[in-house]
């Protein structure tokens, strides 16, 4: 049981990931899909960040006071991944705006009924 809770960060990641994934698949509203997609991405960010954590570790500072360092690399990677995530969301929302203008709705099931020629 203790092992179950000691790795709780991974449980948080899995719960967030699956909720996000479920929203992407199940919802018809295009904006809600993007929110799900965001949740899905954020769970991966937490996966990276939590694995970079070291109990009692500090930033890698060259000083005699500190002996335990946590690797800063996962955090740096996630900074980049966050930027990528923001761009994706921005582009996705821009597309939804255009879709709403062109079709007059943001519900996917209503849109697919409109141009069923292919």
């Amino acid at each position: 049981m203790t092992e179950f809770f000691s790795e709780y960060n991974y449980w948080v990641v899995i719960i967030l990931m699956m909720s996000g994934f479920y929203i992407v698949i199940s919802h018809q509203n295009l904006v809600k899909k993007l929110i799900g997609l965001n949740l899905f991405q954020i769970s991966v960010f937490i996966l990276f960040i939590s694995m970079g954590y070291l109990e009692g570790g500090t930033a890698p500072i060259f000083s005699e006071e500190y002996t335990q360092y946590a690797s800063p690399l996962p955090h740096v990677l996630i900074l980049t991944a966050i930027v990528v995530g923001i761009s994706t969301t921005a582009l996705g929302l821009a597309l939804v705006v255009r879709i709403h203008k062109a079709f007059g709705t943001m519900e996917e099931n209503e849109i697919t009924g409109m141009d069923e020629d292919t």
Partner: protein
């Protein structure tokens, strides 16, 4: 200068992109993109030359030694992919000018070229980098720009296609990121060479197997392997014609390269294929892709959509080659990357010419087009024969090696399956050819259509250059087979 070629390969298109936004006016922008694309092509030729002499090229970014810094690493396979992508890019841009003016509103043309350059830079970056996180970033650069490119299509369904591709593409890229994260947890490194060295101790742990699963699914989504292909038909059908040409002949190939890189250079192929039996999964998916793709292609009435489904089938052939896990099989897969880029590029270029003149690529509107656009449709016939795999075309070379690889394993049923797949291709290509040559258009009903003439020379010359390449590399295979064989031996033999 020569030493810096690996980084220039990526930086030239990447830095030209923002310049396009500054220039804005169509002519200067086109000249810049034209020069950048051809420069990229010449750099790729020089790199291929250097790689065939030196074997491998390493380039250390910013003087930070690997595995701490990012390293760009080129071997035969990556140099070969660079050649495919940049050659297609250079031809497409020479071809694009008129078609883009016709299909994209004039205030957005410079944005189109910007997104195109970013896409090119992203794809080239994916190929050159030797760092898996850097690869993720480049994957996202090329993907984001391709969503924007697709959304420029005229039909409002292009927006929906771009949105769906964005959602699935992001899920694929995030799966890739999860896989990279799990690899990092176990090894503490992101450098491909270093990963391989450190993975040997831990490769049987559940974490690494999970990482492999996430990476395989994520990358397969990106190259549209059979059950994960739903984004592809819409994206190729509704994108502007030029975008379809470029995406169909480059993107999927680059992601198959990424897959090969992970299967052979990051993981140990013996582990992937013998212990996990990933080859079996690939074999089943590839066969399903070939038949479902071809059968769906036969049903389509929009020729672009037909070619998109045909692409799904052709991706099946590439993965089929990989799944055979032999030098000949891998060779067939790798050579088909190049050959399929040539034939599908040519086919989509024909459709771009037809769309340029008639504003439609629906089968019903193509009646009698063979007589009004003789050069374009003749090109379509040759490229179609190449797709089917008739001797003297590149398509034959791919099928030939695939069949050889199947015979090597004594799998005669697979030979039959490959031939059956080709026959299905005959059916859908014939549907187009029959409509174009043997059905009369209703000239009385639509007098405007009767005046349709041939596409402009600026489009026909690149198209026929592509057709010439289809024939040339179908006859003189020393260059392509030589490279693909080196790459296959390299992957199966020496490892990273």
């Amino acid at each position: 200068m020569i030493a810096h070629l690996p980084i220039l390969q990526v930086v030239v298109p990447l830095l030209s992109a923002p310049v396009c936004v500054v220039l804005r006016r169509h002519n200067p922008v086109w000249v810049l993109v034209f020069l950048a694309s051809w420069t990229a092509f010449f750099i790729a030729v020089l790199l291929l030359n250097a790689v065939s002499r030196a074997g491998e090229i390493h380039y250390v970014l910013g003087g930070w030694d690997p595995p701490w810094g990012i390293e760009y690493r080129l071997d035969v396979l990556s140099a070969y992919l660079l050649l495919i992508v940049t050659a297609i890019g250079a031809v497409v841009i020479s071809f694009a000018r008129e078609s883009v003016i016709r299909e994209i509103s004039s205030d957005r043309i410079y944005l189109f070229y910007t997104a195109y350059l970013l896409n090119l830079a992203g794809l080239l970056g994916v190929i050159t980098t030797g760092d898996v996180f850097n690869m993720f970033v480049f994957i996202e650069i090329s993907s984001l720009s391709s969503y924007a490119l697709i959304s420029l299509g005229r039909d409002r369904l292009a927006l929906l296609a771009a949105y769906r591709y964005l959602v699935l593409g992001t899920i694929g890229a995030t799966f890739f990121l999860i896989g990279v994260g799990l690899l990092y947890v176990m090894t503490g490194t992101l450098n491909i060479v270093d990963l391989r060295a450190r993975l040997t101790d831990v490769e049987h742990t559940r974490t690494i197997v999970t990482a492999l699963a996430f990476l395989t699914v994520g990358i397969s989504l990106k190259f549209a392997l059979f059950p994960l292909h739903f984004w592809l038909p819409g994206a190729y059908t509704f994108a502007p014609s030029v975008v379809s040409v470029f995406l169909a002949s480059t993107t999927t190939k680059v992601y198959i390269y990424v897959m090969l890189r992970f299967l052979y250079s990051v993981f140990n192929p013996a582990f992937v294929f013998d212990v996990i039996s990933l080859d079996l999964v690939f074999l089943v998916c590839a066969l399903l892709a070939i038949f479902s793709g071809s059968l769906n292609a036969i049903r389509q009435n929009d020729v672009k959509c037909m070619m998109a489904y045909s692409s799904i089938a052709q991706i099946g052939y590439m993965i089929l080659g990989v799944s055979l896990v032999s030098v000949t099989g891998l060779l067939a897969g790798i050579i088909h990357l190049f050959n399929h880029a040539l034939m599908k590029g040519a086919l989509f270029m024909c459709l771009a010419c037809v769309y340029y003149k008639t504003g439609s690529v629906r089968l019903g509107d193509l009646r009698g087009i063979g007589r009004r656009m003789p050069w374009t449709m003749a090109a379509f016939v040759v490229a179609g024969l190449s797709l089917v795999g008739i001797p003297l075309t590149v398509g034959f070379i791919s099928k030939w090696y695939l069949v050889l690889a199947a015979i090597e394993r004594d799998w005669w049923w697979l030979v039959a399956a490959v031939i059956a797949g080709s026959l299905l291709a005959v059916v859908y290509i014939w549907r187009v050819v029959e409509t174009a040559y043997f059905r009369d258009s209703d000239d009385a009903k639509s007098p405007a259509r009767a005046e349709v003439a041939e596409a402009p020379l600026s489009m026909l010359i690149p198209l026929w250059a592509m057709i010439a390449a289809n024939l040339y590399f179908g006859i003189d295979t020393s260059l392509t087979i030589g490279l693909a064989e080196q790459a296959a031996n390299y992957l199966l033999g020496a490892g990273p």
